[in-house]
């Protein structure tokens, strides 16, 4: 059984070698003549303003977390919505109640978020 792994190992070795050798070859053989324009950040032609390593307000983080939370909710709803129409009556009711419980739980979270002012920017 283990023999069947040999081709995989060979492929792994070759791909790693190929990547390492090529990256290093270009830096070894290529000419290196940097100037100010070349080293500046590429911003699609616009002059760069300051560095990218700035401290962001924690508010962005809050919005991002909440976005993921409620985005996941929608992700779960899509497959349910698609398969809902094909179900028979009893299962339709059953799945509807299940998903309602799921949404109500998230709704409580949403009310909590709103009332706590997590979505207020100021």
């Amino acid at each position: 059984m283990l023999e069947s792994y040999i081709p995989i190992i060979i492929i792994l070795i070759i791909s790693v070698l190929f990547a390492v050798v090529n990256v290093n070859l270009s830096s070894l053989l290529g000419p290196s003549r940097p100037n100010k324009e070349k080293l500046s950040t590429y911003e699609s032609g616009i002059e760069p303003v300051g560095t990218a390593h700035e401290r962001f307000s924690v508010k962005f983080y809050m919005v991002a977390v909440l976005f993921i939370l409620f985005d996941i909710e929608v992700v779960f709803l899509y497959p349910w919505a698609v398969s809902f129409i094909g179900l028979d009556q009893l299962k339709m009711m059953y799945s509807f109640i299940s998903v309602s419980v799921f949404i109500i739980i998230l709704l409580v979270g949403y009310i909590y978020v709103i009332r706590k002012g997590a979505l207020n920017w100021d």
Binding site: K91, Y94, I105, V108, G109, I111, Y112, R115
Partner: protein, 478 residues
Amino acid sequence: MIQIKDLLEVLPLLIIAFSAIFILLLEVSIKKSETVIFGFSLIAILAAIATSFNYFNKEMIIFNQFLRISNASLTFSVIILISMLITVIASKSYIEKENVNFGEYYSMLLFALMGMMLMIFANDILIIFIGLELMSVCFYVLAGFLRLRQKSNESALKYFLLGAFMTGFILYGIALIYGITGTTNLTLIFSDAKVLTNYVFIIGTALLIIGFMFKIGVFPFHMWIPDVYDGAPTVVSGMLSTAGKIAAVGTILPIILAVNILNFKIIFSVAAVATMLYGNVIALAQTNIKRLLAYSSIASAGYIFVGVASMNEFALRGIAYYLIAYTFMQLGAFIIVAMLEKKDDGSRDYKNVDLDFYKGLGKRNPVIATFMTFFLFSLAGIPPFAGFWGKYYLFFAAIKSNQIWLAVVAILLSLIGVYYYLKIIVYMWFSESLEPVSEEKFSFSDTGFAATVLAVIGTILFGVDPNLFFSLFKFVTP
């Protein structure tokens, strides 16, 4: 498909889940809601305890075989509920004192409680995992609840990093077990005797058990305990060391008993001895009472593993008895430390948690010192307190499984423990006070005091009448 009547079979779980969510709504809809929430969570836990007793002697597998209600799991869940009840009562005055009186605290406690109960009732490894994560995430938040205190933040971060790493172990173990058996259902996994000798399966189970040994704090996976318990809010430390451990023990015990591989028995014995030795010896050198209690909780994990290593019909009885005794005495000791702690003054560290502070406590505060003495006697295993019977039944299980050496070693090592517990008692009653007497301010209306009284009642009640426990939890005496 899940039937409606299945929902009635897990009423305690539902009560806790709904009240945890409902508390969030209460928190945002009522002004000054903390007292309401406190009362509400108390009622929820009491209702869950009351309903739990309906299900004893009714072994059943429900929810598409996802949950399994048995006497053992109900016993563990009731012990956890009791631990949480005492924690909630003690928390009120503590979080007021620390200026973090938020309703979310109780919600977090109840969510953690729900995770723990889910874990214990689980009959499917994935449900165990969900419960474990629900519990752990709430624990990380609770450990860092004193957000302005550096110690608390440090504790939460350490707990989170190590806990997340160990979750990886558990998940890898689950993956291997699933890979071999093709199912995550515990009944199906252990129904095939042939699979139990498969090496990959053994490795998977070992990883799973290692992850839970971390949660219980067994040597060599104990390193996080002193730092986390030291930095976490004191009441939360008490809760982590009781409810958190009970949940992990209650979850992994059926798995260990089902696997029952001889080699594991030796490993568990060695781990138990190492844990007891480490916990007891290092505790001797501690000068901070929270760290001392943390090391004593490591030693307790060792005693529990003496029971786990014996793997016979007496093991469950001994472990359950020790855990309920441990809940009362360890939680009680932590709550007393919490009550005596100095009010939040914006400092980074906790004040009044040094052992020196306890010198002469008997003169300054005789009632509290008496209660502390009870808890410490119980932890040391001196009759007529509950800790004595807990150790008795554990060591009895070890003797019955022909591991007399283990019982002898455990007794000798618990003698080391007696020294540092008695040291505090000597400090309290026979040393001159280093603190000015006038500084003591302590009122009996403190909810921590009510919690301590509950813990004292438990410690003495289960110490005086051990049969009470067995009749309460419907144990068939072997």
